[in-house]
């Protein structure tokens, strides 16, 4: 279980997070929605300690994350970055198998490669992409390699930052199913950021909406349409009219 308690983060004069409270239960899939630039990506990075929050506490299974052993903590996580963040000096399969080629989870090279190719298959990429370099792939393919890398070592907790952005509708469906599968079959805890409402309904057990640096609304996905919150209603209907100012 991950809990956030009044987490705040400021960049210069830009107050991005202003006291976020959130709980993600073990083995469930939480989707974060919210306008562009509201700090969703920053929120994930705060949990991982990549951008330490200015104040507030984040706990994992009741333990303050700043006090736990970093290596053991990070070994439990997988993360898909919004921009893919593939290592462009390494071929695709070595990107996917990065964790399996070094450190405590190290395996023999051929085994790591087999796992990488299997994970690539699961995100809809053929084995002949394995030896290419990331720069030789399309944007959507890079995204899927990033996804394969996030799940390669079968982490307990996986963060997906916009997994289906830039994918065609069919591939987006495949990725939605994959994320769902990882949660239900492998019992992983997932936290996904997405702007795609069909993705939200396919992936989420519960939904949280970030607005104005705080969690505006959170609840089970079944209640998304009857939240009674005008911000949520405007967001899921995609209307330019409403409490969220579209043109600033």
């Amino acid at each position: 279980m991950i809990t956030l308690d009044s987490v705040s983060k400021t960049f210069g004069t830009n107050h991005v997070l202003r006291g976020v409270d959130l709980t993600i239960d073990r083995g469930t899939s939480m989707v974060i929605i919210g306008g562009s630039g509201t700090g969703k990506s920053v929120l994930l990075k705060c949990i991982l300690g990549l951008t330490p929050p200015d104040s507030g506490t984040i706990t994992l299974d009741g333990q303050d994350v700043t006090r736990t052993d970093r290596d053991a903590f990070l070994a439990r996580f997988g993360m898909l970055f919004q921009g893919g963040a593939l290592f462009d000096s390494l071929p695709v399969w070595q990107n996917v198998a990065f964790r399996l080629l070094r450190g405590p989870q190290k395996r023999p090279k051929h085994e790591a490669r087999e796992i990488a190719i299997e994970k690539l298959r699961r995100v809809g990429l053929t084995p002949d992409q394995a030896d290419k370099f990331p720069a030789e792939l399309s944007g959507g393919m890079q995204k899927r390699v990033g996804l394969a890398r996030a799940i390669a070592a079968e982490p307990e907790i996986i963060f997906f930052d916009e997994p289906t952005t830039g994918l065609d509708p069919i591939m987006a469906g495949v990725i939605n199913d994959l994320i769902r599968e990882i949660v239900t079959e492998m019992g992983a805890t997932a936290m996904t950021i997405t702007h795609d409402m069909s993705s939200v309904r396919a992936i989420a057990d519960s939904v949280a909406m970030l607005h104005g640096g705080k969690i505006r609304w959170t609840g089970p996905v079944a209640q998304l349409d009857s939240s009674g919150d005008p911000y949520v209603d405007q967001f899921i209907s995609g209307s330019a009219e409403g409490p969220i100012e579209a043109v600033r």
Binding site: L50, L74, L86, G103
Partner: protein, 261 residues
Amino acid sequence: MSIALAPLGWIGRAVLTALGAVGRVTLFALSALSHVLRPPFYGREFAAALAQIGWLSLPVVGLTAVFTGGALALQIYAGGARFNAEAVVPQIVALGMVRELGPVLVGLMIAARVTSSIAAEIATMKVTEQIDALTTLSTNPMKYLVAPRVLAALIVVPALVGVGDIIGIFGGWAVTSGTLGFNPSTYLKNTVDFLQTWDVVTSLFKGCAFGGIAALMGCYYGMNSGRGAQGVGRATKGSVEAAAILILAANFLLTGAFFSV
């Protein structure tokens, strides 16, 4: 009163900023060196850095040294002719190349070639979140990116300096025996007889120091890069400036330490 004191405030702030920067660079260097000594070690990255910094720098180093050695010989011959001292060309070329020009020129070429590429590469990785990705994959960027490059530079730049010294002397030898009518074997004998072990040791030591500075500056500016393409550009420019100036300053201090009587 406050107007009169304002310049003091500027000076104070500038000094504090400079001290802060020195402190941050020093901490970075200490942290990098501590990661060089502690496992895990990334052999593949180290080998790649050796090839990139050492092997692929050979052409640049060789060309720089041969032209400089040749020009040095011509200058000393022409200058020495004013007081009938043409005969000391081999000794002065050897001394000039080994003690000063070899290490300094190799250091500066490494700053141009290696510092810039390290800074641009690491800064791009930072900007595209690859450094964050490394961290989430339980790999410490200081260990995986910084330590192999710094260690490789500490080892391989002295070797480059040695090669530069030899090629520089060879450049002087080629010019003098080719066009100025020096006896080739006497030239070499004079050089070998004149050079002392201490000259060579200090030359290689300078190479080690300059290599460390060059790699550390590339890594430091890369890891602290700002955002976007502009951030990468600034990091690259800053790293080369800092490396070049620190190399020249360190050269002055080391020369003072080694050769002041």
